[in-house]
Amino acid sequence: MPDAFIYDHVRTPRGRGKPDGALHEVTALALAAVPLSALKTRNHLDPALVDDVVLGCVDPVGEAGGNIARAAALVAGYGIGVPGMQINRFCASGLDAINFASAQIMAGQQQMALAGGAESMSRVGIGASGGAWAADPAIAIPAYFMPQGISADLIATKYGFSRADVDAFAAESQKRAAKAWTEGHFAQSIEPIRDVNGLTLLNRDEHMRPETSLQSLGSLKPSFAAMAEQGGFGAVAIQAHPEIEFIDHVHHAGNSSGIVDGAAAVLLGSKEAGMAAGLKPRARIKAFANIGSDPALMLTGPVDVTKKLLKHAGMTIDDIDVFEVNEAFASVVLRFMQAFGVDPAKVNPNGGAIAMGHSLGATGAMILGTALDELERTGKTTALITLCIGAGMGTATIIERV
C-alpha cells in the first residue's frame, strides 16, 4: 500500500467570529482560497499534479454552500483541471478531509491532493445549515439531542470535573497559546489574510486572552444552565445518564472553544508525486479512524476513537509523543486525559481552541499542522490528533515524521 505523506500545511490566523471580527469582511470563499493559494505559492506547485481538493465545512450553506472546495480551488488559481469536494463530519471535517484524501492516495487512486477546511462563522453562523438531528423528533428524541455545552457539562458532572478543574485547564490553554505565539511556534504555518491591496487584515489569532486568570474566569456565569432548565435539555441529559441527580453547569465562554473564522489546508501526496513536485515529505499519515459514541455525552468520541485507532495501528497510548485533542470544551480534554492517564504536558502543548478558537470545518486541519510543527520543533516522532464531534462521533489520525 502506498504511503500518504504530508508535504506542507498552512492555516490562516483565526478571526473573532463576530461582526466586529477582523475577518468578517472576508467572504467564506476568499477565506477558503487563502491556504490553497499559499500552498501553491510556497511549494511552487504545478496544479497539474493535483488530483483533488477536499475541504471540510460544517455549515455549507449560503456563500459557503454548493461545494466551496471547487470554487476555492478555482479562485486560488489551480485552473479548471483540479476538482473539489466539500465534506461534513461536523467538527472533525478538516481532519476527515485529510483522512479522506489520504485514503485515496493510500489506495493508489490519486497521487496528490489538498485537504483541509474553511469556516466563516461570523458570516454564515453556527447552525445555519439546520439539520434533522436537532429538529426532527424522530431523531432528536431517541438520540437525546441537546446543545453541546450541556453535553460538556454532563461530561464534567459524570466524570467529576469541577468548575475549578475546567477553569484551571482553560487558563493553562491561554498560557500555552500565548507562549507559543511569543516564541514563534506557529510562525512557519500562518498565512496572514490580506485585502485586495495587499494590506494585512489579520496576522495573529484574534480570540486569545493571554491575561486570563483563574480569578477572571471565576467571575463568568455558566452559559448553559438556563438553556438546560428552560429548554428541557437538563432532563434529557439526566435521562441519558440517570445516575446523575443534578447537572453541574461548569462551562462558560472562558472555558469553551471560541467562535472564529479561519481556514487551513494540507498538501498530501504519494512518494512519487512528491518527487515529481520536487518536495520533501515532512510526515506520514500512519493511521486514522472514525467512530460513533454516546450521543448524549456527545463529546467523548475522542476516547472511543483513540482506543479504536491505537488497536488498529497496533500501538499503545505510550507510543504517542504529542496529542492534539480539540478543546471544544475543557471537560472534553480533561476526560480524554483521565481516560488514558496521559501526561497533561503532552496534550495540546501549544494551547488550543479555548484560547485560539475553533473554526469548525477548519480546526482538524489546523491542529494536525500544529502537531506536526511541534514534533519538528521538539524532535519527536509521533502525534495523535483527535476531535470530538456533534451527534456523538470521534475522528483521530496518527502522524509520524519521516
Binding site: 447552525g127 439546520g130 436537532a134 429538529a135 426532527d136 423528533p137 424522530a138 432528536a140 428524541i141 431517541p142 437525546y144 439531542f145 441537546m146 446543545p147 428552560q230 429548554g231 428541557g232 435539555f233 432532563a235 434529557v236 439526566i238 435521562q239 445518564h241 440517570p242 445516575e243 446523575i244 441527580e245 443534578f246
Partner: protein, 732 residues
C-alpha cells in the same frame, strides 16, 4: 323556506331568508352530542347539500343541547375500529387489514377536509363544552364564534387517553397558533376558556350566548371566505418555516421538553409532535395524510388501548356505579361528621364542604377543631387566589363546617368518618363515643390506612353499618378513594359510602379488608424495591430517575420521605409483630431503623430523610446514604431497563396477588385505583393492564427472571402461573 337534507336523524337543517343554513346538532336520547358513524354520514350529506344548492350562501353549525356543543368522537367507536383492525389482521393479513384500518381511522379527517374545501363558508357557533373531534370540526369551519358563557370550554384532550387529535387538529392548530403554544395546547389537553382560545387565535369571536348564531351569520353575510387561510396563496405559518431561525428556537426544545414531561413513555405525544413537525413542511392535504398515518399507528397501539380502557371506559363505569350494590336505594347525604381535625380529617371536611355537604368537624378540644377549619380555609383561600372560586363561595364554604369538641353535634348526621390517630385504642374509644351520639340510621366509616376494618367494627354495635373509606393524601387533590368492606359490612353502608364518594367527585374502588388494603400494599412493595436497590449499591439518583423514567410520579426514596420514614418503619414493625419476622425484609428493616433511630431522619416532615431539604433550594439526596450500600456499583454497568422493570413489576405482581386473594375483585378497579391512587405508570393502563399487555406468559417469565436475580419476592403467584399456562388474560 325550509330545506331538509335526506335522512337526518341527529341534525336539523333550516334556512333563513338570507339563504344561510343553520345545522343544529341534537342527538336524540343523549345528553351530549358525540360523533358516531351516523353523525359522519349525515354531516357528509349536509356538506353535499349546502355545497350543491346555489340558493344557500353558507352554513352555521350549532348544538341543540343547552349546555354543550359536543364531547367529540365516540371513544368506544374509535376503540372499536382499532379492535376490528386487530381482528382483521388475523383473517385478511396485515397489509389489507392496515389498509382498511387507515381508511376507516381517517374518515373524520377526510370529512372535515371536505367541509373546509366544499366552496361554501361554514361557521361554528359554540356554546358549552366543545371537545376533541368536535373542536376539530370547529377548526375545519371557516369561522368560529364561542359564547362567553362560564360553561364554555374548547379543548383537544385526546392526549390524556393515549391518543392525539387525528381529525386535522394537529395541522389546523399549528397553522393558527404559534408553534410553541400550539404544542402546549395539544400536549396538555386542558380546556380553554373563551378568551384564552381567542387570545391563542383558535376562535375568531366571543359573544354572549344568545348572539352566537347571529354573529356567525353576520360573518357569512359580510362575505366570509370559504377558503381557509392555509388554502390561500401567500399563507405564512405563524412561527415561520420549521427550518428557519425561529424554528430552530422551537423544535430542538420541543423534543427535549417532550422527553422531560413524558420520559418518552407516551407514543401519542411523540406522534403528535412528529405530525406537527412533518405537517408544517407540507401542503394541507399531504399534511393531513401524514397526521392520519400517525393517528392510525397510535390508535392501534397497546398504550392507546390500555389508556382508553382504564382512563376512559373503566373510570366512567366505576364512577357511574359499576360497583354500587344493585337495588340499594339512593342515599341522601346532607350532613356528615368528621372526627379528627388533623391533616386527613381537615382534608375530608374540605372536600365534603366543597361538595355542599354540611360538616361537623370534631377534635378533642375546640382549639384543635378550629385548627382543622383553618386548614380547610387555607385550601379554599388558595382556590380563590387562583381564580377557581369566589370570596362568596369561600364564605358559604366556611359556614358549612362546624368545628367542635362536642360529640353530641353528631345527632343529625347521615355519615360519620373518623380520621383520628392510627392507634387501636384511640380508634375504639372514638367509635364508641360516636355511636352513642350518632343516629341509628347513620353509617360509620373509618379512614384508617393500617388497621383491619373487621377488627374496628367490633367496637360498633351495628357491624353491617361499619365500613372503611380510605382517602389518599392530600385529600383535596387525590382522585381515588378506597372503600373497604369489612367481613360484616352490609350493602347499605357500601351504598352510602359509594354515594358519598361520588358526591365529593372522587372515584371509588371497592376493596375487601386486608392488611394495607390494595393501594398501600403495592406502594410498600415499590418502596421496598427502592430501598433494596440502595442497599445493592445503585446510585440513589439512579433509583429515583429510573422510577420516574418508568412512569412513576415520585421516586421510591422521595416517596418514603413524603409518607414519612418513621411511619414506614412503624408499619414494618407492626407487620412483623402481627405476621412474624419472615413478613418483613431484614435489609429494609435495618435501613429504616438506622434512619429513624440512629440518624433521626423522619422524612420531609423534619427536613431530614433520604433527602436533605435546604431552605430556598431544591431538595438533594442525603450524602450519608452511602452508609446503606454494600458496594458502589459503576452506573454504566447497571441496566436501567431492569431497574425500571423491577420497580413496576413488584407493584403489578402485588396487584395480581390482590386479585387472587380476593382483595380486589375487578381488574378495572386495580388499574384505575393504581393510577389514581399512587400514580402507577399511566401509559400502561395500570398494573393489571400492564400484565395483560405483555401477556401473562411473558410477565411470568419476567417475574421468574427477576426472582432468579433478585430473590423470591418476584415469584409469580399461582393464579398468574395458571393464566400463563392457559394463555388467559385478566380482561376479556
Amino acid at each position: 323556506m325550509k330545506t331538509v337534507a335526506p335522512d337526518l336523524t341527529q341534525f336539523t337543517l333550516t334556512t333563513d331568508a338570507d339563504g344561510i343554513a343553520t345545522l343544529q346538532w341534537d342527538m336524540p336520547g343523549k345528553s351530549m352530542n358525540v360523533f358516531t358513524d351516523t353523525t359522519m354520514a349525515e354531516l357528509d350529506a349536509v356538506i353535499d347539500h349546502v355545497a350543491g344548492d346555489p340558493a344557500l350562501k353558507g352554513c352555521v353549525i350549532v348544538s341543540g343541547k343547552p349546555d354543550s356543543f359536543s364531547g367529540g368522537a365516540d371513544i368506544r367507536m374509535l376503540d372499536g375500529i382499532a379492535e376490528r383492525a386487530r381482528e382483521n389482521e388475523k383473517t385478511l393479513g396485515a397489509d389489507e387489514a392496515n389498509r382498511l384500518f387507515f381508511e376507516e381511522s381517517r374518515r373524520l379527517s377526510l370529512l372535515f377536509r371536505k367541509l373546509e374545501t366544499c366552496g361554501k363558508p361554514f361557521a361554528a357557533a359554540i356554546n358549552g363544552v366543545c371537545l376533541g373531534g368536535a373542536f376539530e370540526l370547529a377548526l375545519a369551519c371557516h369561522f368560529r364564534v364561542v359564547s362567553d358563557d362560564p360553561k364554555t370550554r374548547v379543548a383537544l384532550p385526546e392526549i390524556k387517553i393515549g391518543i392525539f387529535p387525528g381529525a386535522g387538529g394537529t395541522q389546523r392548530v399549528a397553522r393558527l397558533v404559534a408553534t410553541g403554544d400550539a404544542l402546549l395546547m395539544m400536549m396538555k389537553g386542558e380546556p380553554l376558556k373563551p378568551q384564552a382560545a381567542q387570545k391563542l387565535n383558535l376562535v375568531h369571536a366571543v359573544t354572549p350566548k344568545a348572539e352566537i348564531v347571529e354573529r356567525a351569520k353576520d360573518w357569512i353575510k359580510a362575505g366570509g371566505s370559504a377558503a381557509q387561510p392555509w388554502d390561500q396563496d401567500g399563507f405564512k405559518l405563524p412561527s415561520g418555516p420549521v427550518y428557519s431561525k425561529a424554528g430552530m428556537m422551537v423544535w430542538p426544545a420541543a423534543s427535549a421538553i417532550l422527553r422531560k414531561e413524558t420520559q418518552d413513555n407516551y407514543p401519542a405525544a411523540k406522534a403528535l409532535l412528529q405530525s406537527v413537525y412533518e405537517g408544517l413542511q407540507l401542503p394541507m392535504d399531504a399534511a393531513l395524510r401524514v397526521e392520519s398515518r400517525y393517528f392510525a399507528h397510535i390508535l392501534k397501539g397497546q398504550v392507546a388501548k390500555a389508556m382508553i380502557r382504564t382512563l376512559f371506559v373503566s373510570m366512567q363505569a366505576l364512577n357511574k356505579g359499576a360497583r354500587r350494590p344493585i337495588g340499594e336505594p339512593a342515599t341522601s347525604i346532607s350532613r356528615i361528621g368528621v372526627i379528627g381535625a388533623g391533616f386527613m380529617g381537615a382534608g375530608i371536611a374540605t372536600v365534603a364542604a366543597l361538595a355542599g355537604i354540611d360538616v361537623v368537624l370534631i377534635d378533642r378540644d375546640q382549639a384543635s377543631a378550629d385548627k382543622g377549619l383553618a386548614s380547610a380555609d387555607k385550601v379554599m383561600a388558595s382556590r380563590v387566589a387562583k381564580g377557581r372560586a369566589t370570596e362568596a363561595e369561600r364564605a358559604a364554604f366556611l359556614v358549612r363546617i362546624t368545628p367542635t369538641a362536642d360529640f353530641s353535634a353528631l345527632t343529625d348526621v347521615d355519615l360519620v368518618v373518623e380520621a383520628v390517630f392510627e392507634d387501636p385504642s384511640v380508634k375504639a374509644e372514638t367509635i364508641k363515643k360516636a355511636e352513642a351520639a350518632m343516629p341509628a340510621s347513620a353509617v360509620f366509616a373509618s379512614n384508617t390506612s393500617t388497621l383491619p376494618i373487621t377488627d374496628l367494627a367490633h367496637h360498633f354495635s351495628r357491624r353491617s353499618d361499619f365500613i372503611g373509606i380510605h382517602f389518599f393524601s392530600p385529600v383535596d387533590r387525590m382522585q381515588l378513594v378506597e372503600i373497604i368492606m369489612g367481613k360484616e359490612t352490609g350493602p347499605k353502608a357500601l351504598a352510602t359510602a359509594f354515594d358519598f364518594v361520588r358526591l365529593i367527585g372522587k372515584t371509588p374502588i371497592v376493596v375487601n379488608d386486608a392488611r394495607g388494603f390494595f393501594a398501600n400494599r403495592c406502594v410498600l412493595n415499590y418502596l421496598l424495591e427502592g430501598h433494596l436497590m440502595l442497599h445493592e449499591g445503585v446510585p440513589p439518583a439512579m433509583i429515583e430517575n429510573a422510577a420516574r423514567m418508568a412512569g412513576m410520579p415520585v421516586g421510591p426514596l422521595a416517596l418514603t420521605d413524603e409518607v414519612a420514614v418513621d411511619l414506614i418503619h412503624k408499619i414494618l414493625k407492626a407487620t412483623k409483630a402481627a405476621l412474624g419476622p419472615q413478613a418483613v425484609d431484614p435489609v429494609q428493616e435495618a435501613m429504616l431503623t438506622s434512619m429513624v433511630e440512629s440518624h433521626g431522619r423522619f422524612g420531609r416532615k423534619n427536613g431530614k430523610g433520604f433527602y436533605e431539604y435546604p431552605e430556598g433550594a431544591p431538595k438533594r439526596l442525603w450524602s450519608g446514604l452511602s452508609e446503606f450500600r454494600t458496594q458502589a456499583l459503576d452506573p454504566d454497568s447497571i441496566d436501567i431497563r431492569e431497574l425500571k422493570h423491577r420497580l413496576l413489576v413488584t407493584q403489578a405482581l402485588e396487584a395480581a396477588r390482590s386479585i387472587e386473594e380476593g382483595i380486589v375483585t375487578d381488574p378495572r378497579e386495580a388499574d384505575v385505583g393504581a393510577i389514581l391512587g399512587f400514580g402507577f405508570a399511566p401509559y400502561t393502563g395500570g398494573p393489571i393492564s400492564m400484565i395483560d399487555g405483555l401477556g401473562p406468559n411473558r410477565f411470568v417469565a419476567l417475574c421468574e427472571a427477576l426472582a432468579n436475580q433478585h430473590g423470591p419476592r418476584f415469584l409469580p403467584n399461582a393464579q398468574l402461573r395458571a393464566m400463563a399456562l392457559k394463555g388467559e388474560r385478566f380482561y376479556p
